[in-house]
Protein backbone atom coordinates (compact mmCIF):
# COMPACT_ATOMS: atom_id res chain seq x y z
CA UNK A 1 0.00 0.00 0.00
CA UNK A 2 2.80 2.37 0.96
CA UNK A 3 4.62 1.69 -2.28
CA UNK A 4 1.42 2.26 -4.25
CA UNK A 5 1.06 5.68 -2.62
CA UNK A 6 4.72 6.57 -3.28
CA UNK A 7 4.29 5.72 -6.96
CA UNK A 8 0.94 7.48 -7.25
CA UNK A 9 2.41 10.61 -5.66
CA UNK A 10 5.28 10.70 -8.13
CA UNK A 11 3.00 10.08 -11.09
CA UNK A 12 0.56 12.80 -10.06
CA UNK A 13 3.49 15.16 -9.54
CA UNK A 14 4.73 14.45 -13.04
CA UNK A 15 1.32 15.44 -14.50
CA UNK A 16 1.56 18.83 -12.87
CA UNK A 17 5.27 19.40 -13.48
CA UNK A 18 4.66 19.30 -17.23
CA UNK A 19 2.25 21.28 -19.41
CA UNK A 20 0.17 18.11 -19.89
CA UNK A 21 -1.99 18.75 -16.82
CA UNK A 22 -2.78 22.37 -17.61
CA UNK A 23 -3.46 21.83 -21.30
CA UNK A 24 -5.67 18.90 -20.44
CA UNK A 25 -7.65 20.75 -17.78
CA UNK A 26 -8.25 23.80 -19.95
CA UNK A 27 -9.30 21.77 -22.99
CA UNK A 28 -11.47 19.49 -20.91
CA UNK A 29 -13.32 22.40 -19.31
CA UNK A 30 -13.71 24.26 -22.61
CA UNK A 31 -15.10 21.20 -24.35
CA UNK A 32 -17.48 20.26 -21.52
CA UNK A 33 -18.69 23.86 -21.54
CA UNK A 34 -19.19 23.89 -25.29
CA UNK A 35 -20.97 20.53 -25.42
CA UNK A 36 -23.20 21.28 -22.45
CA UNK A 37 -24.30 24.80 -23.23
CA UNK A 38 -24.12 25.03 -27.02
CA UNK A 39 -24.40 21.57 -28.54
CA UNK A 40 -26.33 20.17 -25.56
CA UNK A 41 -28.76 23.11 -25.42
CA UNK A 42 -28.61 23.28 -21.63
CA UNK A 43 -30.79 26.40 -21.41
CA UNK A 44 -33.21 25.62 -24.23
CA UNK A 45 -34.14 22.30 -22.62
CA UNK A 46 -35.86 24.18 -19.82
CA UNK A 47 -35.20 21.46 -17.26
CA UNK A 48 -33.09 21.64 -14.13
CA UNK A 49 -30.86 18.61 -14.76
CA UNK A 50 -27.38 17.84 -15.99
CA UNK A 51 -28.51 15.51 -18.76
CA UNK A 52 -26.97 17.85 -21.33
CA UNK A 53 -23.71 17.64 -19.43
CA UNK A 54 -23.29 13.92 -18.67
CA UNK A 55 -24.73 12.70 -21.99
CA UNK A 56 -21.58 13.79 -23.79
CA UNK A 57 -19.10 12.21 -21.43
CA UNK A 58 -18.68 8.82 -23.14
CA UNK A 59 -17.72 10.68 -26.34
CA UNK A 60 -15.66 13.39 -24.73
CA UNK A 61 -13.66 10.89 -22.69
CA UNK A 62 -13.12 8.80 -25.80
CA UNK A 63 -10.45 11.25 -26.93
CA UNK A 64 -9.39 12.96 -23.72
CA UNK A 65 -8.89 10.02 -21.37
CA UNK A 66 -6.54 8.07 -23.68
CA UNK A 67 -4.63 11.33 -24.16
CA UNK A 68 -4.20 11.64 -20.40
CA UNK A 69 -3.21 8.02 -19.92
CA UNK A 70 -1.14 7.13 -22.99
CA UNK A 71 2.14 8.14 -21.39
CA UNK A 72 1.71 6.03 -18.25
CA UNK A 73 3.75 3.00 -19.34
CA UNK A 74 4.86 3.89 -22.86
CA UNK A 75 7.03 6.68 -21.48
CA UNK A 76 8.58 4.34 -18.89
CA UNK A 77 9.48 1.95 -21.67
CA UNK A 78 10.92 4.63 -23.92
CA UNK A 79 12.92 6.34 -21.20
CA UNK A 80 14.28 3.09 -19.76
CA UNK A 81 12.85 3.92 -16.34
CA UNK A 82 10.73 0.78 -16.52
CA UNK A 83 13.92 -1.11 -15.74
CA UNK A 84 14.56 1.08 -12.73
CA UNK A 85 11.00 0.68 -11.46
CA UNK A 86 10.85 -3.08 -11.97
CA UNK A 87 14.14 -3.67 -10.15
CA UNK A 88 12.91 -1.80 -7.08
CA UNK A 89 11.60 -3.97 -4.21
CA UNK A 90 7.96 -3.51 -5.22
CA UNK A 91 5.48 -5.86 -6.85
CA UNK A 92 4.25 -5.11 -10.38
CA UNK A 93 0.73 -4.81 -8.98
CA UNK A 94 1.78 -1.98 -6.66
CA UNK A 95 3.29 -0.10 -9.59
CA UNK A 96 0.26 -0.69 -11.83
CA UNK A 97 -2.22 0.39 -9.14
CA UNK A 98 -0.13 3.42 -8.20
CA UNK A 99 0.02 4.70 -11.74
CA UNK A 100 -3.63 3.94 -12.44
CA UNK A 101 -4.79 5.68 -9.26
CA UNK A 102 -2.67 8.75 -9.99
CA UNK A 103 -4.21 9.21 -13.41
CA UNK A 104 -7.68 8.51 -12.04
CA UNK A 105 -7.22 11.15 -9.37
CA UNK A 106 -6.07 13.52 -12.09
CA UNK A 107 -9.29 12.94 -14.08
CA UNK A 108 -11.27 13.30 -10.85
CA UNK A 109 -9.70 16.74 -10.36
CA UNK A 110 -10.71 17.70 -13.91
CA UNK A 111 -14.23 16.45 -13.27
CA UNK A 112 -14.46 18.28 -9.94
CA UNK A 113 -13.57 21.52 -11.71
CA UNK A 114 -16.82 21.27 -13.71
CA UNK A 115 -18.73 22.16 -10.52
CA UNK A 116 -19.97 25.49 -11.99
CA UNK A 117 -22.33 23.47 -14.20
CA UNK A 118 -23.97 21.94 -11.14
CA UNK A 119 -24.05 25.35 -9.45
CA UNK A 120 -25.70 26.90 -12.52
CA UNK A 121 -28.45 24.27 -12.48
CA UNK A 122 -29.01 24.91 -8.77
CA UNK A 123 -29.20 28.67 -9.22
CA UNK A 124 -31.65 28.48 -12.10
CA UNK A 125 -33.93 25.78 -10.79
CA UNK A 126 -34.34 22.93 -8.37
CA UNK A 127 -32.44 19.97 -9.77
CA UNK A 128 -32.34 16.60 -8.05
CA UNK A 129 -28.87 16.78 -6.50
CA UNK A 130 -28.86 13.06 -5.76
CA UNK A 131 -29.16 12.51 -9.48
CA UNK A 132 -26.30 14.90 -10.13
CA UNK A 133 -24.16 13.06 -7.60
CA UNK A 134 -24.96 9.71 -9.22
CA UNK A 135 -24.07 11.24 -12.60
CA UNK A 136 -20.69 12.40 -11.32
CA UNK A 137 -20.03 8.99 -9.75
CA UNK A 138 -20.93 7.23 -13.01
CA UNK A 139 -18.78 9.64 -14.98
CA UNK A 140 -15.84 8.94 -12.68
CA UNK A 141 -16.21 5.17 -13.16
CA UNK A 142 -16.60 5.65 -16.90
CA UNK A 143 -13.30 7.56 -16.96
CA UNK A 144 -11.75 4.86 -14.77
CA UNK A 145 -12.75 2.15 -17.24
CA UNK A 146 -11.28 4.09 -20.19
CA UNK A 147 -8.13 4.81 -18.19
CA UNK A 148 -7.60 1.16 -17.31
CA UNK A 149 -7.95 0.28 -21.00
CA UNK A 150 -5.39 2.99 -21.78
CA UNK A 151 -3.04 1.58 -19.12
CA UNK A 152 -3.22 -1.73 -20.92
CA UNK A 153 -2.51 -0.33 -24.40
CA UNK A 154 0.22 1.91 -22.98
CA UNK A 155 1.95 -1.08 -21.39
CA UNK A 156 2.03 -2.86 -24.75
CA UNK A 157 4.15 -0.32 -26.60
CA UNK A 158 6.89 2.24 -26.17
CA UNK A 159 5.12 4.54 -28.61
CA UNK A 160 2.56 6.88 -27.08
CA UNK A 161 0.76 7.47 -30.38
CA UNK A 162 0.21 3.73 -30.83
CA UNK A 163 -1.03 3.51 -27.23
CA UNK A 164 -3.43 6.39 -27.87
CA UNK A 165 -4.89 4.97 -31.07
CA UNK A 166 -5.31 1.44 -29.71
CA UNK A 167 -6.99 2.82 -26.65
CA UNK A 168 -9.40 5.02 -28.63
CA UNK A 169 -10.40 2.04 -30.78
CA UNK A 170 -10.95 -0.20 -27.75
CA UNK A 171 -12.99 2.47 -25.96
CA UNK A 172 -14.97 3.16 -29.14
CA UNK A 173 -15.93 -0.50 -29.18
CA UNK A 174 -17.07 -0.17 -25.56
CA UNK A 175 -19.34 2.69 -26.62
CA UNK A 176 -20.67 1.32 -29.91
CA UNK A 177 -21.67 -2.07 -28.49
CA UNK A 178 -24.55 -0.35 -26.73
CA UNK A 179 -25.05 2.72 -28.92
CA UNK A 180 -28.63 2.85 -30.20
CA UNK A 181 -27.89 3.38 -33.93
CA UNK A 182 -25.67 0.29 -33.81
CA UNK A 183 -28.02 -1.92 -31.79
CA UNK A 184 -30.88 -0.83 -34.10
CA UNK A 185 -28.88 -2.18 -37.04
CA UNK A 186 -28.43 -5.50 -35.27
CA UNK A 187 -32.17 -5.85 -34.59
CA UNK A 188 -32.82 -6.85 -38.22
CA UNK A 189 -30.91 -10.10 -38.08
CA UNK A 190 -29.94 -10.90 -34.50
CA UNK A 191 -32.06 -12.21 -31.65
CA UNK A 192 -32.91 -9.76 -28.84
CA UNK A 193 -30.96 -11.94 -26.40
CA UNK A 194 -27.83 -11.59 -28.53
CA UNK A 195 -28.25 -7.82 -28.78
CA UNK A 196 -28.67 -7.56 -25.03
CA UNK A 197 -25.52 -9.59 -24.52
CA UNK A 198 -23.51 -7.33 -26.83
CA UNK A 199 -25.02 -4.22 -25.27
CA UNK A 200 -24.11 -5.51 -21.82
CA UNK A 201 -20.47 -5.01 -22.78
CA UNK A 202 -21.05 -1.35 -23.45
CA UNK A 203 -20.21 1.51 -21.15
CA UNK A 204 -23.23 3.43 -22.46
CA UNK A 205 -25.72 0.85 -21.16
CA UNK A 206 -24.15 0.99 -17.72
CA UNK A 207 -23.59 4.73 -17.65
CA UNK A 208 -27.29 5.36 -18.46
CA UNK A 209 -28.41 4.20 -15.04
CA UNK A 210 -26.13 6.64 -13.25
CA UNK A 211 -27.42 9.48 -15.43
CA UNK A 212 -30.95 8.67 -14.33
CA UNK A 213 -29.80 8.82 -10.72
CA UNK A 214 -29.72 5.07 -10.12
CA UNK A 215 -26.58 3.63 -8.52
CA UNK A 216 -26.99 -0.04 -9.41
CA UNK A 217 -24.51 -2.54 -7.98
CA UNK A 218 -24.53 -4.36 -11.35
CA UNK A 219 -23.36 -1.22 -13.13
CA UNK A 220 -20.66 -0.69 -10.50
CA UNK A 221 -19.64 -4.33 -10.88
CA UNK A 222 -19.38 -3.83 -14.64
CA UNK A 223 -17.05 -0.83 -14.38
CA UNK A 224 -14.98 -2.49 -11.68
CA UNK A 225 -14.60 -5.62 -13.81
CA UNK A 226 -13.50 -3.62 -16.87
CA UNK A 227 -10.93 -1.88 -14.65
CA UNK A 228 -9.84 -5.14 -13.02
CA UNK A 229 -9.53 -7.02 -16.29
CA UNK A 230 -7.61 -4.23 -18.02
CA UNK A 231 -5.17 -3.82 -15.15
CA UNK A 232 -4.61 -7.58 -15.12
CA UNK A 233 -3.91 -7.43 -18.86
CA UNK A 234 -1.51 -4.56 -18.10
CA UNK A 235 0.46 -6.83 -15.79
CA UNK A 236 0.69 -9.45 -18.53
CA UNK A 237 1.83 -6.85 -21.07
CA UNK A 238 4.52 -5.66 -18.66
CA UNK A 239 5.99 -9.16 -18.45
CA UNK A 240 7.22 -8.60 -21.98
CA UNK A 241 10.40 -6.67 -21.32
Amino acid sequence: MRNTIVIAKRELGSYFSSPVAYVFLVIFLLLTGFFTFTAGQFFERGEASLGAFFGWHPWLYLVLVPAAGMRLWAEERRGGTLELLMTMPITPLQAILGKFLASWIFIAIALALTFPVAVTANVLGNPDNGMIFAGYLGSLFLAGAYLAVTCMTSAMTRNQVVAFILSVVACLFLILAGFNPVTDLLVRWASPAFIDTVAAFSVVTHFDGFQKGVIDSRDLAYFLSVIGFSLFATSLALRNR
Binding site: G13, G79, M88
Partner: protein
Protein backbone atom coordinates in the same frame (compact mmCIF):
# COMPACT_ATOMS: atom_id res chain seq x y z
CA UNK B 1 26.46 -12.73 -1.93
CA UNK B 2 25.66 -13.30 -5.60
CA UNK B 3 25.45 -16.90 -6.82
CA UNK B 4 24.87 -17.51 -10.49
CA UNK B 5 24.43 -21.06 -11.64
CA UNK B 6 24.33 -22.06 -15.30
CA UNK B 7 22.35 -19.01 -16.33
CA UNK B 8 20.72 -19.02 -19.79
CA UNK B 9 18.69 -16.39 -21.60
CA UNK B 10 17.25 -16.98 -25.04
CA UNK B 11 15.68 -14.24 -27.17
CA UNK B 12 13.94 -15.90 -30.11
CA UNK B 13 16.69 -17.80 -31.91
CA UNK B 14 19.54 -16.03 -30.13
CA UNK B 15 21.18 -17.39 -27.00
CA UNK B 16 22.18 -14.07 -25.44
CA UNK B 17 23.50 -15.73 -22.29
CA UNK B 18 24.59 -19.32 -22.65
CA UNK B 19 25.35 -21.10 -19.39
CA UNK B 20 27.17 -18.58 -17.22
CA UNK B 21 28.14 -19.49 -13.63
CA UNK B 22 30.05 -17.40 -11.10
CA UNK B 23 29.91 -16.15 -7.52
CA UNK B 24 30.67 -12.76 -6.04
CA UNK B 25 31.46 -12.44 -2.33
CA UNK B 26 31.43 -9.44 -0.03
CA UNK B 27 34.62 -7.41 -0.40
CA UNK B 28 35.00 -8.27 -4.07
CA UNK B 29 34.78 -5.97 -7.08
CA UNK B 30 34.18 -8.05 -10.16
CA UNK B 31 34.67 -6.44 -13.55
CA UNK B 32 32.46 -7.86 -16.24
CA UNK B 33 34.22 -7.49 -19.56
CA UNK B 34 33.10 -8.24 -23.05
CA UNK B 35 32.48 -6.77 -26.47
CA UNK B 36 29.18 -5.05 -27.21
CA UNK B 37 26.34 -7.54 -27.42
CA UNK B 38 28.21 -10.25 -25.55
CA UNK B 39 25.49 -10.63 -22.90
CA UNK B 40 26.80 -8.35 -20.14
CA UNK B 41 23.65 -6.28 -19.75
CA UNK B 42 21.39 -9.30 -20.16
CA UNK B 43 23.22 -11.09 -17.32
CA UNK B 44 22.95 -8.03 -15.10
CA UNK B 45 19.26 -7.69 -15.87
CA UNK B 46 18.76 -11.26 -14.72
CA UNK B 47 20.70 -10.64 -11.50
CA UNK B 48 18.48 -7.65 -10.72
CA UNK B 49 15.29 -9.48 -11.60
CA UNK B 50 14.35 -7.40 -14.64
CA UNK B 51 14.59 -10.34 -17.04
CA UNK B 52 13.40 -13.79 -16.04
CA UNK B 53 16.09 -16.35 -16.87
CA UNK B 54 15.28 -18.97 -19.51
CA UNK B 55 17.30 -21.46 -17.47
CA UNK B 56 19.58 -21.62 -14.45
CA UNK B 57 19.40 -19.81 -11.14
CA UNK B 58 20.47 -16.51 -9.62
CA UNK B 59 20.43 -15.90 -5.90
CA UNK B 60 21.36 -12.76 -4.02
CA UNK B 61 22.12 -12.99 -0.32
CA UNK B 62 20.57 -16.47 -0.30
CA UNK B 63 17.29 -15.31 -1.90
CA UNK B 64 16.41 -16.74 -5.30
CA UNK B 65 15.68 -13.80 -7.58
CA UNK B 66 12.76 -15.57 -9.28
CA UNK B 67 11.18 -17.14 -6.19
CA UNK B 68 11.76 -14.36 -3.66
CA UNK B 69 12.19 -11.25 -5.85
CA UNK B 70 11.40 -8.64 -3.19
CA UNK B 71 13.91 -9.99 -0.66
CA UNK B 72 16.62 -10.19 -3.32
CA UNK B 73 15.86 -6.75 -4.78
CA UNK B 74 16.06 -5.13 -1.34
CA UNK B 75 19.74 -6.10 -1.14
CA UNK B 76 20.65 -4.78 -4.57
CA UNK B 77 21.53 -1.31 -5.77
CA UNK B 78 21.32 -1.15 -9.55
CA UNK B 79 22.60 1.33 -12.09
CA UNK B 80 20.97 0.41 -15.41
CA UNK B 81 22.63 0.96 -18.75
CA UNK B 82 22.22 4.57 -20.01
CA UNK B 83 21.43 5.67 -16.45
CA UNK B 84 17.67 5.99 -16.84
CA UNK B 85 15.98 8.52 -14.58
CA UNK B 86 12.69 10.42 -14.44
CA UNK B 87 13.72 13.51 -16.35
CA UNK B 88 10.83 15.67 -15.14
CA UNK B 89 11.95 15.39 -11.50
CA UNK B 90 14.60 17.34 -9.65
CA UNK B 91 17.66 15.46 -8.44
CA UNK B 92 16.41 15.74 -4.88
CA UNK B 93 12.87 14.65 -5.78
CA UNK B 94 14.19 11.65 -7.68
CA UNK B 95 16.48 10.53 -4.85
CA UNK B 96 13.69 10.93 -2.30
CA UNK B 97 11.41 8.87 -4.52
CA UNK B 98 14.05 6.11 -4.70
CA UNK B 99 14.54 6.28 -0.92
CA UNK B 100 10.79 5.99 -0.31
CA UNK B 101 10.54 2.95 -2.57
CA UNK B 102 13.37 1.48 -0.50
CA UNK B 103 11.19 1.90 2.57
CA UNK B 104 12.97 4.91 4.05
CA UNK B 105 11.07 7.85 5.52
CA UNK B 106 11.50 10.86 7.77
CA UNK B 107 14.97 11.33 9.23
CA UNK B 108 16.34 8.10 7.74
CA UNK B 109 15.31 9.29 4.28
CA UNK B 110 16.92 12.71 4.73
CA UNK B 111 20.15 11.11 5.94
CA UNK B 112 20.20 8.61 3.07
CA UNK B 113 19.68 11.34 0.48
CA UNK B 114 22.36 13.54 2.04
CA UNK B 115 24.87 10.67 2.10
CA UNK B 116 24.21 9.65 -1.52
CA UNK B 117 24.45 13.28 -2.62
CA UNK B 118 27.80 13.62 -0.91
CA UNK B 119 29.16 10.33 -2.29
CA UNK B 120 28.25 11.27 -5.85
CA UNK B 121 29.12 15.01 -5.64
CA UNK B 122 25.62 16.20 -6.49
CA UNK B 123 25.08 19.04 -4.03
CA UNK B 124 25.48 21.76 -6.69
CA UNK B 125 22.62 20.38 -8.83
CA UNK B 126 20.31 19.19 -6.08
CA UNK B 127 17.38 21.41 -7.07
CA UNK B 128 17.89 21.16 -10.81
CA UNK B 129 15.52 19.20 -13.01
CA UNK B 130 17.18 16.04 -14.33
CA UNK B 131 16.59 16.85 -18.01
CA UNK B 132 18.73 19.98 -17.65
CA UNK B 133 21.73 18.02 -16.32
CA UNK B 134 24.85 17.18 -18.30
CA UNK B 135 25.44 13.52 -19.02
CA UNK B 136 27.98 13.15 -16.23
CA UNK B 137 25.67 14.58 -13.59
CA UNK B 138 22.77 12.55 -14.86
CA UNK B 139 24.84 9.42 -14.63
CA UNK B 140 25.90 10.20 -11.09
CA UNK B 141 22.29 10.95 -10.12
CA UNK B 142 21.34 7.47 -11.21
CA UNK B 143 24.36 6.07 -9.37
CA UNK B 144 23.26 7.94 -6.24
CA UNK B 145 19.86 6.25 -6.59
CA UNK B 146 21.63 2.87 -6.57
CA UNK B 147 23.52 3.78 -3.37
CA UNK B 148 20.61 5.37 -1.55
CA UNK B 149 19.84 2.42 0.74
CA UNK B 150 23.50 1.51 1.32
CA UNK B 151 22.96 -1.87 -0.39
CA UNK B 152 25.05 -4.96 0.24
CA UNK B 153 25.18 -5.77 -3.45
CA UNK B 154 25.87 -3.30 -6.23
CA UNK B 155 25.22 -4.07 -9.88
CA UNK B 156 26.49 -1.31 -12.14
CA UNK B 157 26.03 -1.46 -15.89
CA UNK B 158 28.78 0.64 -17.48
CA UNK B 159 29.11 3.07 -14.58
CA UNK B 160 31.74 5.23 -16.28
CA UNK B 161 30.09 5.44 -19.69
CA UNK B 162 29.89 9.02 -20.95
CA UNK B 163 31.90 10.56 -18.11
CA UNK B 164 34.89 12.84 -18.60
CA UNK B 165 38.33 11.61 -17.42
CA UNK B 166 38.06 13.31 -14.02
CA UNK B 167 34.62 11.91 -13.38
CA UNK B 168 35.76 8.46 -14.50
CA UNK B 169 38.58 8.64 -12.01
CA UNK B 170 36.20 9.63 -9.20
CA UNK B 171 33.72 6.90 -9.99
CA UNK B 172 36.46 4.24 -10.16
CA UNK B 173 37.73 5.30 -6.75
CA UNK B 174 34.19 5.23 -5.41
CA UNK B 175 33.66 1.71 -6.73
CA UNK B 176 36.93 0.57 -5.19
CA UNK B 177 35.99 2.13 -1.88
CA UNK B 178 32.50 0.59 -1.90
CA UNK B 179 33.97 -2.80 -2.80
CA UNK B 180 35.65 -3.11 0.59
CA UNK B 181 32.34 -3.75 2.33
CA UNK B 182 30.00 -4.80 -0.48
CA UNK B 183 29.78 -7.26 -3.32
CA UNK B 184 30.16 -5.25 -6.52
CA UNK B 185 29.72 -6.32 -10.14
CA UNK B 186 30.23 -3.77 -12.85
CA UNK B 187 30.38 -4.08 -16.60
CA UNK B 188 32.70 -2.18 -18.85
CA UNK B 189 34.57 -2.40 -22.08
CA UNK B 190 37.31 -0.09 -20.92
CA UNK B 191 40.23 -2.32 -19.96
CA UNK B 192 42.12 0.15 -17.80
CA UNK B 193 39.17 0.11 -15.42
CA UNK B 194 39.88 -3.49 -14.60
CA UNK B 195 43.31 -2.56 -13.33
CA UNK B 196 42.00 0.53 -11.60
CA UNK B 197 39.26 -0.99 -9.47
CA UNK B 198 38.71 -4.75 -9.85
CA UNK B 199 39.76 -7.56 -7.59
CA UNK B 200 38.69 -10.02 -10.28
CA UNK B 201 37.67 -9.86 -13.91
CA UNK B 202 35.38 -12.06 -15.95
CA UNK B 203 35.59 -11.89 -19.72
CA UNK B 204 32.53 -13.02 -21.63
CA UNK B 205 31.94 -13.41 -25.32
CA UNK B 206 28.75 -14.52 -27.09
CA UNK B 207 27.09 -15.37 -23.82
CA UNK B 208 29.87 -17.58 -22.44
CA UNK B 209 32.66 -16.99 -19.95
CA UNK B 210 35.95 -17.24 -21.83
CA UNK B 211 38.33 -16.29 -19.00
CA UNK B 212 38.32 -15.17 -15.39
CA UNK B 213 40.82 -14.30 -12.70
CA UNK B 214 42.67 -11.37 -11.17
CA UNK B 215 44.01 -8.87 -13.70
CA UNK B 216 47.47 -10.36 -13.12
CA UNK B 217 46.30 -13.92 -13.70
CA UNK B 218 44.66 -12.99 -16.98
CA UNK B 219 48.00 -11.84 -18.33
CA UNK B 220 49.40 -8.63 -19.73
CA UNK B 221 48.83 -6.57 -21.65
CA UNK B 222 45.12 -6.95 -20.94
CA UNK B 223 44.14 -5.54 -24.27
CA UNK B 224 45.89 -8.31 -26.12
CA UNK B 225 44.31 -10.96 -23.89
CA UNK B 226 40.90 -9.43 -24.51
CA UNK B 227 41.35 -9.34 -28.27
CA UNK B 228 42.64 -12.89 -28.40
CA UNK B 229 39.70 -14.24 -26.40
CA UNK B 230 36.81 -12.38 -28.01
CA UNK B 231 35.72 -12.48 -31.61
CA UNK B 232 35.23 -8.99 -32.99
CA UNK B 233 31.73 -8.08 -34.23
CA UNK B 234 33.14 -6.94 -37.50
CA UNK B 235 35.23 -10.09 -38.09
CA UNK B 236 33.16 -11.26 -41.02
CA UNK B 237 32.26 -7.88 -42.45
CA UNK B 238 35.80 -6.56 -42.88
CA UNK B 239 37.13 -9.08 -45.44
CA UNK B 240 34.07 -8.41 -47.64
CA UNK B 241 34.67 -4.70 -47.77
CA UNK B 242 38.34 -5.25 -48.35
CA UNK B 243 37.57 -7.41 -51.38
CA UNK B 244 35.55 -4.62 -52.95
Amino acid sequence: MIRIDNLVKVFGAKRAVDGISFNVERGEVVGFLGPNGSGKSTTMRMITGYYAPTGGRVSVGGHDVVEAPLEAKRLIGYLPENAAAYTDMTVRGFLEFAAELRGLSGGAKRKAVARAVEQCFLSSVLHQSIDTLSKGYRHRTCLAQALIHDPEVLVLDEPTDGLDPNQKHEVRNLIKELGRTKAVVFSTHILEEVDASCTRAIIIDRGRIVAQGTPDELGRPLEEVFRRLTIPDTGIAIPDTVKK
